[in-house]
Symmetry: C2
Subunit: 245 residues, 2 copies
């Protein structure tokens, strides 16, 4: 264990921020750290859009399911998977871009996440708190319109950054023994470990909500995966050029 691993293990999402602004220098430093992450074949399929305008932030907050910290955070970034830039480069060289490959969707999405996580680690090391905003995929077309995203670009998630005005506890995770396996995927799911984690999460929710929420992990998973989630996404992506061939 060292300072870095301590920092990583101390992560929790922050949803209340002070008024202290986040300077351009800090954002530049954070995104530069993001760019240093590995990228598949150096494609760098990422564009980060910093949204400053309050009006745009308010619209994004509403589209993301009324997450007001999209407005109140010191800075708000939208991380976009971007194969429009490599396409431009390919065409600069007289090539013909092979649009809509599943592999391209995948590497661009992974590039975005690797970049963003480096940004998060940098931000937390600089004393900021963060919160990922997957809710911008609720209405992906409206978000794309607001940010004037062209074909071959899609918004993966937003990121709130700012100086924290709260200090929540870290959220318990599944036991390492469930997540880290040796040689093979196990033949059976470890129900006992999941039930133990369920109990831990029930206690966690109870303590965080003063007894109001008493759900378990598997109950949350039933609610999350037992219904069609964001069915609009496929058609949206296909309309952007990410057509999964």
């Amino acid at each position: 264990m060292n300072e870095v691993t301590r920092l990583l293990k101390a992560h929790r999402s922050i949803r209340k921020f002070t008024d202290q602004p986040v300077s351009d220098e800090i954002i530049d430093e954070i995104v530069t750290c993001g760019q240093a992450a590995a990228t598949s074949s150096n494609i760098q399929a990422v564009t980060v859009i910093r949204v400053r305008k309050t009006e745009t932030r308010e619209q994004l907050a509403a589209l993301a399911g009324n997450q007001e910290y999209v407005v109140s955070a010191g800075a708000f970034l939208v991380f976009c998977a971007d194969v429009a830039r490599p396409r431009f480069a390919c065409e600069m060289q007289g090539g013909r871009f092979a649009q809509g490959m599943t592999e391209q969707f995948l590497i661009a999405t992974v590039d975005v996440a690797l970049t963003a996580q480096n940004c998060v680690v940098a931000a937390e090391s600089l004393g900021l708190g963060i919160c990922y905003i997957g809710g911008i995929r609720n209405h992906p077309q409206a978000v794309a319109d607001l940010l004037q995203l062209p074909e071959d670009v899609y918004p993966v998630f937003g990121l709130c950054l700012g100086f924290s005005a709260q200090s929540p506890q870290t959220k318990p995770r599944l036991p390492l023994s469930v997540v880290l396996q040796e040689e093979y995927y196990p033949a059976h799911q470890n129900q006992q470990a999941i039930e133990a984690y369920d109990q831990q999460m029930r206690d966690y929710y109870r303590s965080r909500t003063g007894g109001k929420k008493a759900s378990s992990w598997s109950q949350e998973m039933r609610a999350l995966t037992g219904k069609e989630s964001r069915p609009q996404l496929r058609e949206f992506l296909s309309g952007r050029g990410f057509s999964m061939r």
Copy 2:
């Protein structure tokens, strides 16, 4: 700038490793740091498989396009996107899993990448070098068979970890001004900046290869995106339950 941002910006892939083994304690610490990353709705859709057996490593190295460091690295991990576990939890609660949603494919893939990047930062802070292995997607079905992956699980990438036996320079990235935008996606691609970066990459490749490789970024992008990449992926994913609806 602090020690963490310095560490992040110093990243480069390592492909030559010493014989020094990587202890179980270090891998546990690294994956625990990985688990601390943000996860969409706490789904934790990640399973990490540590492959120790030389025979399996040799098969994976061959499948990944003869990348021998898959065998020689102190440790080799395969990061799998896993919605089989949340599905099991959903069904434990009497729910009916909504299979094949694009959103699930997306959040599982993002979860894996956020987790892996935290693992990478932890590993580098502990003095290890790393290399992501996207090449395991060359033959995804063979990899899935080797690791006995069930439905609803797919291998996103591998990760070599070990003590470095080389010290390559960092690879230049696109200028920050290209990647970080204000308010909107730009109306036009910045061809001038791309051409300047092309020149920088030509110099980088030349210096790294002793003059043998003199390609530019846009030439690399033409080679990469000007052809169908991994067309087998879509059918493979669809057969796993990731059917993009």
